[in-house]
């Protein structure tokens, strides 16, 4: 469910030791140009939790996590200032999983939710990292960062207006403003999801979190579109506004790399496939197609930012993806209603099927972009 935009370089690794960690540097796999400093970090988790202390050199690192417990712990996270920057979930006992990220020198923490002895651990990153981007990479990243900042500003403005209408008890106005606030969020959701608890607080659907913790957009959506009321929503709206403000403050701290931006585009299309095309996301307002279009717009912006880099490496792929974005746009046209989209309830199964097909056709080649961008 949670997406990691800050995924970066990585190499293959082998299996593990005891509740300690071993660190090795390796050469890259065939076909992948991997920086010399790439580090493999072997981590074993068990029912006690995480290794108490890990030390890793700065630079790109792959965490290969094995679970030797009985299942009460199944997740390993790396956090920086309380924010998850990398994680692997649902590692069943006896199995392993991995993730990669680029680490700067400094103090980090690890977390293994449910661990009885060491639910958290220390991670020290030593030395200096070489995370310099080439000028063209920097240009791509800057382009996307500008988009992120612009969308974040829109999100704050639209959320403020929405919250004001909810607090004023103006149901009709709040319903109108709901979609406007959702759009910028859906365009940049994979980035928002990197900030630990913020995404569930802002965007959880009923059942994603324990009922008593449930808040954010969709709780207010339910009140507005099912109960036709704003009763009891004032505090929820206040908290939503605060969470969006926090998100906006954190946005500037996100480190971006071209491959991660490209993967963010794929994540947005996966969002479409998993929860928009099925009508799960906006189950009360039925504005799923609004989110659908916003996810695609966000994916397009991310792709456009890295397209100059990709064109230099695989022009045919860049062109194919451009064509398929066009096919998605064309497929959405019949469902436009003024400046918005028709309700999900007016879609026939044949409509959702053909929309799903164009998304799949686009997401498949898009998922191969990142590998071209990590190779210099």
């Amino acid at each position: 469910m949670k997406v990691r935009l800050l995924r970066a370089l990585s190499v293959a690794t082998v299996v593990v030791g005891a509740t300690t960690a071993a660190v090795t540097g390796t050469a890259g796999t065939a076909g992948a140009l991997v920086p010399a400093k790439h580090t493999n970090v072997k981590v074993t988790i068990d029912d006690d939790g995480c290794p108490a202390k890990l030390t890793v050199p700065a630079g790109p690192a792959t965490f290969k996590v094995s679970n030797e417990g009985d299942g009460s712990v199944s997740e390993f996270e790396v956090l920086s200032d309380g924010r998850i920057i990398g994680e692997v979930e649902n590692i069943a006992p006896g199995l392993h999983g991995s993730f990669s990220l680029t680490l700067k020198p400094g103090a980090y923490s690890t977390k293994c939710p449910g661990g009885s002895e060491h639910e958290t651990g220390k991670l020290t990153v030593t030395g200096t990292a070489d995370t310099k981007l080439t000028p063209s990479q920097q240009s791509s990243v800057d382009t996307y960062r500008t988009y992120l900042e612009d969308q974040t500003a829109q999100l704050v403005t639209a959320t403020d207006a929405f919250v004001a209408a909810v607090k004023a008890g103006n149901v009709d106005l709040a319903k109108q403003l709901y979609a406007a606030a959702r759009i910028p969020y859906e365009r940049i959701e994979p980035v928002a999801e990197t900030f630990g608890d913020l995404d569930p607080k802002i965007d959880a659907r009923k059942g994603d979190v324990p009922d008593k913790e449930w808040g954010g957009f969709h709780k207010i959506e339910q009140a507005l579109f099912v109960g036709n009321t704003t009763d009891g929503m004032s505090d929820v709206a206040t908290e939503l506004q605060a969470d969006v403000a926090t998100l906006a403050n954190l946005m500037g701290s996100v480190e971006l790399q071209p491959a991660a931006v490209a993967n963010g585009a794929v994540e947005l299309l996966n969002e479409v496939s998993a929860s928009k095309i099925t009508g799960e996301e906006e189950r009360y307002s039925r504005l799923d197609l609004v989110d659908f279009a916003a996810n695609v717009e966000g994916a397009r912006a991310a792709f456009d930012a890295v397209k100059p880099l990709l064109t230099g490496k695989n022009a045919a792929l860049a062109s194919q993806i451009g064509t398929r974005f066009g096919a998605v746009d064309a497929a959405l046209v019949p469902y436009r209603a003024g400046t918005s989209y028709v309700l999900y309830t007016s879609l026939a199964p044949s409509d959702t099927k053909s929309l799903s097909q164009v998304i799949d056709a686009l997401a498949e080649p898009l998922s191969t972009v990142a590998k071209h961008l990590v190779k210099q």
Binding site: V14, T29, A30, A32, Q320, A361
Partner: protein, 425 residues
């Protein structure tokens, strides 16, 4: 089902078709093996050495999966093309051929399966399972040549006359959503994972060019295509297809299954035509029928599979035998109406599978039956002729034809060619 059947699959084929590696090799590939090792750059040849399981050659005069020994598992799927560019169709069939060549050798598709920064080319679930006798058989439907009146690929003039649209038969309740398709793929193997892997990866390769239209999984073969295979039973509990055309019957293959050198069009020579029918069995009704009724419906004994009036399965079917003036094999018995002698000698190579799709939501009854697959030289004198005879089949009370398709199966290919080349190149 029997030891005999098992040994039939494990033995090296008389044509040298099966390259069985030692079973011990499989043991070395334990669950702990890192998938990436298996997936990285293994060539088909290397995979042969590393993986156990029988291999059926992909290349040949004819496509595999027709007369090669029927495996126990099927996943059949059809696709609709979403492109209007003939070049895209060619590229798809080339890529599909490449992928099938590797998968039938037990190798992963593609070349990039170890890069942690990219989705692997191969989806991975068949790693370590070996070739598992996988055959991948490709066909083209009538809609490839013209769809909704449009000749999308300039192929309309090349449609074989034998690739007919089936007429509506008595008792058909065919669902268009479970019928037809521009392209068809039959994946058969000893292991259902291997079948699923094949179709899944072909569907993935097709993304942006073709979409899945419908699919059907078969969990157990109901036909034998090799004289050494025992006749299996269908879900009615009967041995069906005792008099099938088998691999050893070269005269019948030539006259009834393969498109001949004198047949039109030339691009279909050494190919065949495939008819598929999803035949739902009303099993609850069947199970309430007396044994006598069941046997009179089929025309065979249930246990031995012998024709009524005879003792053993392979005894001759005597349609003229009478008892007290009545035919021993009733006039509406299935084996009488399906007999070649009743249809100008029409013979079909049947390669069907039992299927279930769970529970019928309307009736809460089992949604199960026979996925009928038959190959023939010409459906007009083959399936269509036989099926017309079956209009009065006593079996119709217990079955419904709910899905349908006819596909031209092009000839086989070479290590450098692709299936469909004779049509599209």
């Amino acid at each position: 089902m029997s030891g005999r059947e098992h040994s039939a699959r494990a033995r090296p084929s008389r044509r040298g078709f099966l390259t069985a590696a030692g079973a011990g090799a499989l043991g070395a590939l334990t669950a702990g093996t890192v998938a990436g090792d298996l997936l990285s750059g293994a060539t088909p040849a290397a995979a042969d050495d590393a993986l156990a399981g029988a291999q059926v050659p992909f290349h040949g005069l004819h496509q595999a999966g027709i007369v090669t020994p029927a495996q126990d598992r099927l996943l059949f799927a059809t696709f609709d093309l979403t492109t209007n560019d003939r070049g895209d169709v060619v590229r798809l069939l080339q890529e599909w051929t490449r992928a099938a060549r590797r998968m039938t050798a037990g190798a992963p598709v593609g070349s990039d399966n170890a890069d942690l920064d990219a989705p692997p080319d191969d989806t991975g679930e068949a790693a370590g399972l070996g070739p598992a006798s996988l055959t991948v058989t490709f066909g083209v439907g009538g809609s490839l040549f013209r769809k909704d009146g449009v000749d999308r690929y300039g192929l309309a003039a090349r449609r074989p006359a034998a690739l007919v649209d089936l007429p509506e038969f008595a008792g058909d309740v065919v669902d268009p959503a479970r019928s037809d398709g521009d392209l068809a793929v039959q994946a058969c193997a000893d292991d259902p994972n291997v079948c699923f892997h094949a179709i899944r990866n072909l569907a993935r390769i097709a993304r942006g060019t073709a979409v899945l239209r419908w699919s059907q999984m078969g969990f157990g073969r109901t036909s034998s295509t090799d004289a050494t295979q025992e006749t299996p039973r269908n879900l009615m509990g009967f041995k069906d297809g005792t008099n099938n055309v088998v691999a050893e019957d070269t005269d019948a293959l030539r006259s009834s299954v393969w498109v001949g050198a004198a047949d039109d069009p030339a691009w279909m020579r050494d190919g065949s035509y495939m008819v598929v029918r999803r035949i739902r069995m009303l099993l609850e009704v069947w199970d309430r029928s007396t044994l006598a009724d069941q046997q009179l419906t089929i025309g065979r004994t249930k246990t031995a599979g012998a024709p009524l009036g005879a003792r053993r399965e392979h005894d001759a079917v005597d349609l003229d035998a009478t008892s007290d003036g009545d035919p021993v094999i009733p006039v509406d018995a299935h084996i009488r109406l399906a007999a070649p002698s009743e249809a100008e000698g029409a013979r079909l190579l049947r390669r069907g599978y039992s299927f279930t799709d769970g529970i019928d939501p309307v009736t809460n009854q089992l949604d199960a039956g026979l996925f009928f697959v038959a190959f023939q030289r010409d459906p007009r004198t083959g399936f269509v002729r036989v099926q017309q005879n079956l209009a009065t089949d006593a079996l119709n009370e217990y079955i419904r034809h709910t899905g349908s398709g006819v596909f031209a199966i092009p000839p086989g290919t070479t290590p450098t060619g692709f299936v469909g080349e004779t049509l599209l190149a």
